[in-house]
Amino acid sequence: MKIIDFIRGRTFYERKERSGIFFVSIAFIYFVTIYYYPLIQSFLFSFFTGPSSQNRKYVGLATYKKVLSDPLFLLSVKNTFYFVILAVPTTIVLALIIATFLNYVLNKKLRDILSFMFFSPLMISFVAAALIWEWIYHPIYGLLNNLFLFIGLPSQGWLFNASQAMPSIAIMQIWLRLGFDIMIFLSALQAIPGEYYEAASIDGASGFSCFKHITLPLLNPQIVFVSIIELIFGFQVFDLVYTATHGGPTNVTRVIILHLYETAFKWYRFGEASVVAVFFFLFLLSISILQWKFRRTTTY
């Protein structure tokens, strides 16, 4: 009993505190072993060269220099940014608009059906989605080109056209992620009390002004939340690209994680792959910290 007492803590507050630590520790231990330990191993890898566990040689920061000046790596960074700029803001804005409109639909049945339709792409794995859209984008038998030809537009190369490839993939991402964001915004919108709007319309505010001054600020936490999530998913894009274009044509869809995969598993340069992984992790971390700080200063 004495030992248990000691562990649990003697005072009421101590007891409380320790329980908290206990509750959190399960998750914490899990993460440390499953994620942080490999991550640190990866980090250590970045200072060595050599394929996997054979012939490892310490090289210090040389790999970092090599990776940072590798044009292929820099290209993949550029491509990933391009992708994120195309996909993320579009998804968030579209989701916001659609959720706002959905909120006005009074018929619950209709709203449910529409929500279901918007949400359905989320039930598809990335690989399946890539295959489905590959087929839709097929230059000869695809739905899109045949539609275009039907209405008199010329057929496009889509995934095979160097300047259309990335936007085509961005469209896939938007399609996949839209439902999730719509649901989050919609549920937040439904939680806003109607009195706010009534009060505003009594004061003579227009619909758009209502949106700008009531809805948006109240949705701020959700907007920040969604932005962080979409950014994280956007930067981590891999399965879509790998299945659909393999990074081509001419490396225009080569994204960071694809570069990481090839460096590690096709070219066996684990040191370099680790460097890419470390950079990637730190980069995402900083973006999220920035976003988080932004949120803290603007909530009500």
Binding site: Q54, I140, T245, H246, P249, T250, K266, W267
Partner: protein, 430 residues
């Protein structure tokens, strides 16, 4: 007490998460050998291999059979690597490229003497070479069969007739190839190619792009690197190589007999979107299943300055895992497979078997690619770059980048290849 109980329950739950109920026996009792392949597109051949595995019980009564497991091609490298690194959960045998798994990593068992003799008796040197690394033999392209190791010309005879040409005629030289292609191409009102006279490979896995370009490169007299595999400059960007890439690019942009928007060549050929392609023998089986009404013929590759023979970029061979517990049984099984490949191939209608005698058996005589195969196998083998080992995939990627940049007119062939030369040189120096 209650608290203890909950802790115990939680402990049990966590324990369940880390305990595996599998038997940990390693005794040689009732074992099933495993064979991993990323060639999921030959399901009937794979099934035949499994059935053949049951014969192994005659020699080793404790072996139940062999399980053929098809691993998705996307990501198979990661899967193979993880399994073989860990040693537990690795397959007994697998299908892969010898320079990856014997060269870059030391994961392959070298072939026992009796089997080496067996192979030497029955295969042509060009085919044998594909399984050799650093002087030792590790395997033979059996299950994928020789047909994956070189390409041939496929030509749609209906389209020849339609264009008013003799359906038994075929291009023997590159110039004739161009000539034929010009006559067989169809374009729509806006000038876009809707049926390629000759379909090129320009998308998908970069190594594939390079591989499908090599017949052109080699027949023009170009090379990817020096014979001692130490330098790329002067070879990958030699005037012959540049000429080859220029011709390839012109097919799309100048002569417009090829399109960058038509999908993969094999599929296009099957869908009647292409009149001619270069592809390996397995297409015969695929066409039989997916385009049974297609009328076509197969011929050896056209030539220019050199005759291109056996030897592709990829050296898919059946290999045995070095750290497995069942190596002896695995080699016996592979011996069975290689000596009986003909059986499986007949079932699948896929590619021709590696044994040279089989070229004259009744099955092969009826295959559309028999003469072409015989001719190809008799030619001197193509330069095989497998010997540079681990970096080959990366070299292929660099080359594919150059090809792509040229095809899409982002760079001239000379610039693209010059840049590639610098990169490959850096690689080769490691």
């Amino acid at each position: 007490m209650k608290r203890m109980k909950t802790v115990l329950i939680l402990g049990l739950v966590m324990g369940m998460l880390f305990v595996n109920g599998q038997s940990l026996f390693a005794a040689k009792k009732n074992i099933e050998l495993t064979y991993w392949t990323s060639m999921g597109q030959h399901p009937k051949f794979n099934k035949w291999m499994e059935d053949l595995g049951k014969e192994l019980t005659k020699t080793y009564p404790y072996v139940k059979g062999v399980k053929i497991i098809a691993v998705p091609y996307e990501g198979y490298e990661a899967k193979y690597l993880s399994a073989m690194e860990g040693k537990v959960g690795a397959p007994d045998m697998f299908n892969g490229m010898v320079y990856d798994w014997a060269g870059a990593h030391d994961f392959c068992d070298s072939m026992p003497e009796y089997l080496v003799k067996n192979i030497e008796e029955h295969t042509v040197p060009a085919v044998r070479k594909l399984g050799v690394w650093d002087g030792k033999m590790y395997g033979v392209p059996g299950s994928t069969a020789t047909g994956s190791s070189f390409m041939m010309l496929y030509i749609n005879t209906d389209m020849l007739e339609e264009a008013g040409m003799d359906p038994n005629n075929y291009p023997e030289t590159i110039d004739e190839l161009l000539d034929f292609a010009k006559k067989l191409t169809k374009r729509d009102a806006s000038g876009k190619v809707v049926r390629a006279g000759y379909a090129i490979r320009y998308s998908g896995n970069p190594t594939g792009i390079t591989e499908k370009f090599l017949p052109f490169l080699h027949t023009f007299g170009g090379r990817m690197m020096s014979p001692d595999r130490k330098r790329a400059s002067g070879y990958i960007n030699s005037s012959e190589s540049v000429e080859a890439l220029q011709f390839f690019t012109d097919l799309v942009n100048k002569y417009r007999v090829s399109s960058l928007e038509i999908g993969s060549p094999a599929a296009s050929f099957g869908h009647k979107l292409a009149a001619m392609i270069f592809r390996e023998g397995w297409v015969v089986g695929w066409l039989r299943d997916n385009a049974p009404n297609l009328r076509y013929k197969i011929y050896p590759l056209p030539t220019y300055r050199e005759k291109v023979g056996v030897g592709a970029l990829f050296t898919w061979t059946d290999l045995v895992y070095k750290y497995g517990p069942n190596k002896e049984e695995s080699w016996k099984y592979l011996e069975l497979v290689w000596n009986n490949c003909l059986g499986g191939v007949i079932i699948d209608g896929g590619a021709p078997p590696p044994w040279k005698e089989d070229l004259n058996c009744s099955y092969m005589i009826n295959r559309p690619d028999r003469e072409a195969t015989t001719e190809m196998m008799s030619r001197a083998s193509s330069p095989n770059y497998g010997y540079i080992g681990a970096h080959l995939t990366e070299v292929a990627s660099i080359m594919a980048d150059a090809i792509g940049d040229s095809l899409y007119l982002k760079k001239t062939p000379k610039t693209a290849l010059d840049e590639a030369a610098v990169k490959v040189d850096a690689l080769l120096m490691e």
